[in-house]
């Protein structure tokens, strides 16, 4: 009895390599099982620590839509995601364009700008928290030196939301810069030389050569920043812990608050599932849109 070649399972024309198994096991344990478990939890009323839990069906999901705190957190999540993304693209691209030229000390400057990416967001948040502190913060010292008044920067929800976006963007603009630098360096100089011969100025070259050629970099940077911004947790936790009231919570911080603080693990899991779906759909749409634009320009 011989086994025919065609009976061996195949993936996309390749034989099944058993060395996939460890990666699959890790993925299963750390990603798939938590995901399935989270969905199961979201259908229960578990408090997060008791042995008992009851099945409540979709009750947690239905309650979400009536919860003003969830609506606030969801709105903030979009603000953090979109706000950080826009800010990081503008700053990152600007820095990449500036540091793509052969100027003295550019490598040092690149390293310094990228350095905050390597710092823990909790440390970064704490530094800014101290900087913004009412009594002993550097910002208030500066304001007073300029003749102004001491201000409680984190007491106003609008200002606090804006500051969270700014702090997050300042920390991670280095990633955008590196992505755009890589993109800029992959553009053949011959295009610019040809454009110059045709009489194009710098702005025209940027618009008609740089921007189209940077489409893949745009796609990568925007998707990465958007996902990061929408999952934002540590900076919010350190700077405002979601306050004043519930006004600066993102869905991520509200999940933690509901799970541990309010002992509503089932409800928090429902929020987690909704956040996962929103980010997945958003990422998919964005990727599709950016790839389509890229193909149109080829």
């Amino acid at each position: 009895m011989t086994t025919s070649r065609s009976s061996i399972p195949r993936f996309a024309g390749r034989g099944l390599n058993l060395l996939y198994l460890p990666a699959l096991a890790v993925l299963g344990v750390f990603t798939l099982w938590p995901l399935v478990n989270g969905v199961m939890l979201s259908l229960s009323n578990w408090d997060g620590y008791s042995p008992e839990r009851s099945f409540v069906g979709l009750e947690n999901y239905l309650r979400l839509f009536d919860d003003p705190n969830f609506r606030t957190a969801l709105g903030n999540t979009f603000i953090y995601g979109v706000g950080s993304t826009i800010l990081q693209q503008v700053i990152g691209l600007g820095l990449a364009l500036a540091l793509d030229r052969s100027v003295r000390g550019r490598n040092v400057a690149r390293a310094i700008i990228y350095l905050p990416v390597l710092v823990s967001p909790v440390v970064m948040g704490t530094m800014y928290y101290l900087f913004l502190s009412y009594n002993s913060g550097g910002l208030n010292d500066l304001v007073i030196a300029l003749g102004g008044e001491r201000t409680a920067w984190l007491s106003d929800s609008g200002a606090a939301i804006a500051l969270i976006v700014v702090v997050n963007s300042l920390q991670f603009m280095g990633i955008s810069m590196v992505i755009y630098l890589a993109g800029l360096q992959s553009i053949p100089t011959v295009y610019y030389e040809a454009a110059r011969l045709d009489g194009a100025n710098a702005a025209q070259s940027f618009r008609h050569i740089t921007v189209p050629m940077l489409q893949p970099a745009f796609a990568t940077s925007i998707v990465l920043n958007l996902i990061g911004g929408m999952k934002l947790f540590d900076v919010i936790q350190v700077l405002t812990a979601g306050g004043p009231g519930y006004s600066t919570h993102s869905v991520s911080t509200l999940i933690a608050k509901m799970y541990f603080g309010s002992q509503r693990a089932g409800y928090a899991s429902a929020m987690g599932v909704v956040l996962f779906l929103i980010i997945a759909v958003f990422t998919l749409l964005l990727n599709t849109m950016l790839n389509r634009r890229r193909l149109e320009q080829l």
């Binding site: 409680a152 984190l154 929800s157 306050g243 009231g245």
Partner: protein, 419 residues
Amino acid sequence: MKNSTTAKHAAAAIAIVATAAIALTGCSGDTGGGGGEVKIEMQTNFGSTDPSLKVLQKITDAYEKDNAGVKIDLVPSTDTYEDDIKVRLSSNDIPDIWATHGWSLLRYSQFLEPLNEQPWAKDFNTALAPAMENADGQFFALPIDTDVAGIVYNRTVLKDAGIDPAQLTDWDQFEAALKTLKDAGITPISSSGKDSWFAGNIADFLGSGDFTDAELEGFKDGTFDEKGYTRILDHVASWQKMGWFNPDYSSATTDDLGRSLAEGKTAFVFVQNYLVATALGFNPDADLGYMPIPSETGKPFLVGGEGRAYGVSKTSPNKKQALDYLAYLAEPDNLSELAGSIGGIPGLTNATSDLGVLTASYDAFVKPGDVPLKPYFDRVYLPNGIWDTMVTTTDGVITGQMTPADAVTQMKSSYDSLR
């Protein structure tokens, strides 16, 4: 040849998966050390630099010396102690002994061994019964100290402003004092949205004296008294409107409040007495005390209940040794020393402690027994888990993000969903 290669690949893959599985298996229930030693894990809820941990370690060393073969592992607390314990309970990786931080009855009793039959139980301070005992007279933790709290104040600041705290027996008098202090350039009340339990304390402390007995029973039976709770938050909203809270409320930390109190920049803080120790760290000469809380329904009162307390897991494989160690902690000399290090009134009646700067307040308000000691509102009358909502809604009112009506709606919604 190919088959043997495939077999090798398969063996390698299985070995890697098996190794990963072993690595991912949490080690729990390690009950033995070398040579038959019993190892007991105790979650202390003392920070690693807390002087009380050193005292506990000293007492524990003496116990281990007398009990060869028993090793007590004193685990210092993290900033997320409460969350850590919940995770341990949910994963059935339960410590042998842990600090119950005010929740031995309402939250943890289903996991804890009843202790009312222990030899030291006859000395249990009955003032703790409303917070720690169930209907059957069972309690589930050894109380190291009794939490007695009111409004902490700086005596020097009040004296300079001509205010006698003993005369502030109703809210009108208290609020008149706040206005006097504000006019004198002192911050009348300091609280914190950063270490946000300070905000929750305000509603919780006021709540204990805001309702009649019938209304309080109503809370237990499922009736959330919106009108009464609005009354509490109206006080808070008016204090906020008058500018009587600290301007750095949103960013202030426990240390900031302690320093402000010690330096005479603020007059009152609604907080347990541990803040006094923090304040004395900034100014050892600060003259501080605590006063009863004005009531809507009768005499001024103090709040209190379970302070530092330790329970034993009912499923611990080392239950016998853990109970024996707890009995050792309960010995009068040991309990006195431990309660003294915390700065609290001992939880057992046969122990004593030096209250230091707070002795005057204790002698004035606690010792005579005239001032009622009421349990914390949330721990007795509200469902387990609502504290977090209480904190956030009070914070919302203090910062002007919520009206009292909005906050009450949120509280009621949380109350209904957690019952």
